[in-house]
Symmetry: C2
Subunit: 427 residues, 2 copies
């Protein structure tokens, strides 16, 4: 490449800055409102600094929600088989159907819905590359005038994607809240379960089993939300990414177990945690055809978005998703989930023994603990890192009501989890 003459660039930059050039593209200013996303980078820096200063210490990471167990054999087999298909012209697959292959959509509809008595058809399922993508993109099919309600603490993507779209008003750095967002505090007082907000929202983000608190909602409690949404004309965006970790009977596996959810709910599901697909990338979103604003079905809008801005999940990955529902796959993944849930038990019971106030961990891979002795979330982070060499996530990183709390995840190895808890118990 011929080099750009530095003086040209400099002159141009100056002109642009002074707006002397007649036209100039502009950026989406909403992006500039976003406060820095420093949670995990701050954690990374603190851990790196501590490790550098203490090279002999073995640090155990129970912070980020990433899995550690390898893919189950049934999934590995299906991946190899699909790769082989791609090596022969007769079985090669090009562009996938926009909304997902029929073999996967029907397996999902049957296993995750119809077998549970939930009335969802295969053409109401949209396969995609991740619940993060879908939970970030779903707001796009709604009006910019719509007002969102979120739990506090909360998975940051729900709010941030609405900030980027311009739906959240202005940010108050002191309270760490947005002027046009309805916050629903989830605290010890309400058992980390949100209450119906005073102001009526248009979109309600709910995630159960919850990230970060690990709290759950009973079917009766969720029915109250569904009835409310139908009454006020709101849409519930229900993130069920941790559904596979439910162990108790009265906790719903899908919002479509509730009566009337077909007219008010969208459900997001991920393969990341039930099948260890964090690096494989597969998820799906359910939009019932009965969910409408006037005559407009949200199903058609989302189909149009997929058709315009997405080209389907990879064929071989969709085959891996199919294997999740095979008899061998189910059996192997039940074991994998049990492995992580055993870690959750180790953490939960270990913390209790050590005298901590702790919740979550029974129907979720996340354990939520109250920091001891009035420490702030970050103070406890430092305390745990320095004295037990264990890394967790400060609750305040998920929202103001997370202050004074701390998240540990069950996704480490069993050995590391046991060691971490032994260290914590000795503190």
């Amino acid at each position: 490449m011929e080099q750009v003459k530095p003086e040209i660039t400099a002159v141009l930059k100056e002109k642009r800055k002074n707006r002397e050039v007649r036209f100039m593209f502009k950026v989406n200013e909403n992006y500039l409102k976003l406060p820095g996303s420093y949670l995990f980078s701050t954690i990374g820096k603190k851990v790196a600094a501590y490790q550098a200063a203490n090279p002999d210490r073995q640090i155990i990471r129970l912070g980020i929600g990433d899995v550690t167990q390898p893919l189950a054999p049934a999934i590995i087999d299906s991946l190899h088989k699909a790769v082989d298909e791609m090596s022969h012209a007769e079985t090669f697959r090009g562009y996938a159907p926009d909304l997902g292959y029929e073999f996967l959509r029907s397996a999902i509809a049957r296993n995750d819905y119809q077998d549970r008595g939930a009335d969802i058809a295969e053409d109401e399922i949209f396969v995609s590359d991740g619940a993060k993508s879908d939970s970030g993109n779903i707001q796009e099919i709604f009006s910019l005038d719509n007002k969102i309600a979120v739990c506090d603490p909360v998975y940051p993507v729900y709010v941030d994607s609405n900030v980027m779209a311009g739906r959240t008003g202005s940010y108050d750095a002191r309270t760490q809240t947005w002027s046009d967002v309805i916050y629903m505090p989830c605290t010890a007082d309400n058992g980390f379960s949100p209450e119906i907000p005073k102001e009526t929202p248009d979109l309600i983000y709910l995630c159960f089993p919850n990230n970060p608190t690990g709290a759950t909602i009973t079917k009766d409690q969720l029915q109250v939300w569904v009835d409310y949404a139908n009454r006020v004309g709101a849409v519930i965006i229900y993130d069920a990414a941790y559904e596979a970790y439910i162990s108790e009977e009265h906790v719903p596996h899908t919002i479509f177990e509730c009566q009337g959810a077909r007219t008010c709910a969208i459900e997001l599901k991920s393969f990341s945690k039930n099948a260890g697909f964090t690096g494989v990338r597969l998820s799906y979103t359910v939009i019932p055809k009965d969910l409408k604003c006037g005559d407009t079905a949200l199903h058609s809008l989302w189909a149009r978005r997929h058709g315009t801005k997405y080209n389907g999940a990879p064929y071989i990955i969709q085959r891996a998703g199919e294997a999740v529902y095979s008899p061998e796959g189910k059996e192997q993944l039940k074991e994998q989930v049990a492995y992580y849930m055993n870690n959750a038990r180790v953490i939960y019971e270990g913390l209790q023994e050590a005298g901590y106030t702790v919740s979550g961990g029974v129907n979720a891979p996340y354990i939520w603990l109250k920091t001891p002795a009035g420490m702030s979330s970050w103070e406890f982070f430092d305390y745990l890192l320095e004295n037990a060499n264990v890394v967790g996530t400060p609750g305040s990183g998920f929202g103001p009501s997370g202050e004074g709390y701390f998240r540990l995840t069950a996704f480490g190895s069993y050995e590391n989890t046991v060691t971490a808890l032994e260290r914590i118990k000795k503190l």
Copy 2:
């Protein structure tokens, strides 16, 4: 699931319609402005109807731009190897880095840029799941006030994604144009190469080698666009998806061969056509750090979008991408591209022999032909289907200036391509 009582749903629907419920979510009304996307579905219906009426005819499809050759052996090997890594805890990979694995980004930077003398660093490359996703999403980092310019005919995603965002004004069904879009006709008169528009745009979408016309631009011609964009403060979104098909010396492989492109251009690249990844899903976008509006680097905005609404391409797919740049991969893919380009030659020369006015096909897998005897694009579609049993794509489906033209693709098998041309020559 307990059934929703039908009378409740009916009452609720009626209330919503009449806005008797106090609040009601609203949809993104911009979506409703989009005219139906019927091109490929109309083609599908016509072909199905013809086949049903003529079950003995062997129809050859040279319409859609999907590849047919299997993945190259080097890619298959790398996929199997990566799948095996995912089956052991020691080599298992969870969440990928948001912007792509270093092994892939460095291979891209070296092979596609630095080896060509283009000054692009590996951290200016964003790996993603497809150029369709990126070309649809990229508009999001720009202001809604920005005005776009597109070629006519054009790949529909550029315009449709801007319609969905509310950037295009109103649609005129008669002229098939949007009031706030600057159209740059690409016709036989200008060699299917756009001219600098009279009205100054903020964003300029260019695709070379072009879909659908197969036209190219010389490096000198592209330099004119880069200079223009820098002068008026516009951004060029350069879609180089068909770069691997360039056979002529003076045609640039990347816009970053041009002087000054680092301050005005974003480049979209796909693995779909150079490596047959239409069903594998991998692509990348290049945003140089020098591309700024005032002090705001578009690089940071796109990084923020990736970080918030995307979770990286699958590990095994990124390993497949890496294999594209291995010595064996390069050799095998050169052969694959040559296979398709030989088809392009067969189509181009066959049509010429048959007396058609034809362009494209030399640096691109698309052949663009003028319909004979003043037929409309759709009339010629029917004529070709009924008399030669060959399916192509009507040029009018890509925009008003495509009327009277027709696209054939080189992505079929050699045997089918030869047969199709024999039939066309006999017409």
